[in-house]
Symmetry: C2
DNA sequence: TTCATTTGTGTAATCGTGTACACAATCATG
DNA sequence: CATGATTGTGTACACGATTACACAAATGAA
């Protein structure tokens, strides 16, 4: 118990070979007698030997670590993607290091710390870090950076999201239902992705001679959705609220119902964004502009694999969103 | 762009010193002239130099990596703890590696992979890995293992949870409300923690001459809560369901309301466990046996810090749960 | 002035692998 | 049998940092 880990040199002595041969026993494609390999593997199992990944990484210049830059872990709007990606990485023997930057005072310092671990790849989910910062910090370690935010740079692969058609569909339906006065409840004040999403809906409204009449800013949480919706509905007579994500939409729906006695979809239409599993629960049944999470993560993994194999190829993939219909709009 | 990272030896040449001095400039408590240090740090900044953490770990025998063994990332019943812990670790310059074992075919192999990275600590949230397996795999790297599951071992610290008093309180209230026939909806068939939780409620019922009349097994998800509740309510006339976690409780509540027209708390009482934020949302308002997440993570961090500083001390901490009242029971 | 102590720096070994190179043994081919 | 290719193994160095040790210079005390 608690004994130090055995090294390849020690195991070499035990097996009567050199440490180089130990290393070869653990490398699938190396010149080694199969009898020797079997013997070494057996002795290794007996003594609980496993090659030290830290030493290997130093030698290899390849750590098999992947930095995942996320806003928060618990936040459902990212959680499903995170889960899928981690699963896929693990299947490829890649280990994810989570950088949770929403609550960290100095996100840049956190990213610098991770970059000293020579991560092979970086995936930026968060819209709270500027892509230029990410590139500046990680470019010396030459990882690929997969991000939402478009940035022309040889080290960055982009995944672009297009929800304009789905937004148009949703607005079409709501307007047909007789709603005329729209509010937009943003998730953040500064995020570019929030602005992009807002534009999809603003364009769809403009096409029909309508505008966003009222606006509010939350922080992607239920509580902020609830609170901002109350304020919004008190200061303006809107009959539809487009929310920055599903969780805020649920908050807004509860606020409308509880604080103002307005029910969806008759009194007010409420739309979410993301298409998280919870949105489809019977108690929520949200109409939402949804992204196919599997397709999204497929794209991320595709970019990572291409980079791993040093293949050239398109560094940008565009995904389109779909409308997912519930009873709130 | 994309250039290789500069090494300490190269920086040494640029600054006209030896690589040992470079190292000293980055170690807070080492003998080095302040003028030299300032010059080195300035040249380092200029060339984007940062010490290579992989090489440092190899030399130090200390990786500053922490393995977090979890069931799933998105699952709300753990997500809040995960988020808190990651936050606290990052503040201590420790980087978390997530091992997501719910969907991994071979959890043990995944843990073995992580153990080759010489993690300093291991925190096991998941009840899907046996503690003995974790000890066997990680003991060679001598990390501390923090886990729910009690296991007497010098390498394992335990956090024990006691919800018996809170369960008693909850049962008391439900029985006073006139309910008599209880069902228990488990999260898993095999998890020891599920059995422990079940026992709290079974004991509270026994004290009042009651038993668990019906039983079902889900998988901690909303859908399983919904489905199993439907089956349960069709095959037996229970008027209270205790669920293995909050998410399943929400599913069960929706099932009762939608499929059988039964409302809480009049027709049926429904109780969750965990006390996740979502349970308190207006649309859920769940009665739940809740754990103080902050206290829990405080305890984990306490154990980790004690181990980091090589301090002896109690290796076991017990936390008690509270009843959190909503309108479902 | 003289000697002991402190301060700042360089040299070289170390951490645990992977791998280029060398070399002996084996095998195939004519 | 001679020769060239292949196979299996050991030696030695590299990966990029940290650090024990040595030593010169600076400092202090008498």
């Amino acid at each position: 118990m608690n004994k130090r880990r055995i090294t390849s040199k020690e195991l070499a002595k035990l097996a009567g070979v050199s440490s180089a041969t130990i290393s070869r026993a653990f490398s699938p494609d190396s010149r080694i007698g199969s009898a020797t390999r079997d013997r070494i593997l057996s002795v290794a199992r007996e003594h609980g030997y496993q090659p030290n990944a830290i030493a290997r990484s130093l030698n290899n210049q390849r750590s098999r670590l992947v930095a995942l830059v996320v806003n928060a872990i618990g936040n459902p709007c990212e959680a499903e993607e995170q889960q899928l990606l981690v699963h896929r990485l693990q299947a490829r023997q890649l280990l994810p290091i989570i950088l949770c930057c929403a609550d960290h005072d100095d996100r840049l310092q956190l990213m610098r710390l991770a970059s000293t671990y020579q991560v092979d790849h970086v995936v930026v989910f968060s819209d709270m870090v500027s892509m230029q910062d990410a590139v500046d910090i990680f470019h010396t370690t030459k990882p690929i950076i997969v991000s939402f935010e478009p940035l022309e740079n040889e080290n960055v692969s982009n995944i672009r999201i297009d929800g304009s058609a789905a937004a148009d569909e949703i607005i079409e339906k709501i307007v047909n239902d007789g709603k005329k006065r729209f509010a937009y409840l943003s998730g953040t004040k500064s995020s570019w992705i929030d602005k992009l999403r807002r534009k999809w809906f603003a364009d769809a409204l403009a096409k029909r001679g309508l505008t966003i009449e009222a606006e509010a800013f939350g922080d992607y949480t239920y509580d902020s959705g609830f609170k901002e919706a109350v304020l919004l509905l008190h200061r303006s007579k809107v009959d539809a609220i487009i929310c920055g994500n599903d969780v805020m939409a649920i908050g807004a729906r509860d606020a409308a119902r509880r604080m103002l006695g307005k029910n969806t979809p008759d009194d007010i239409a409420i739309v979410g964004q993301d298409g998280i599993a919870m949105a489809a629960w019977d108690c929520n049944d949200l109409t939402t502009l949804s992204l196919d999470h599997v397709a999204f993560i497929d794209a991320v993994v595709d970019l990572i694999e291409r980079h791993d194999a040093d293949l050239p190829g398109p560094h940008s993939i565009t995904l389109t969103c779909n409308a997912r219909w519930g009873s709130t709009a």
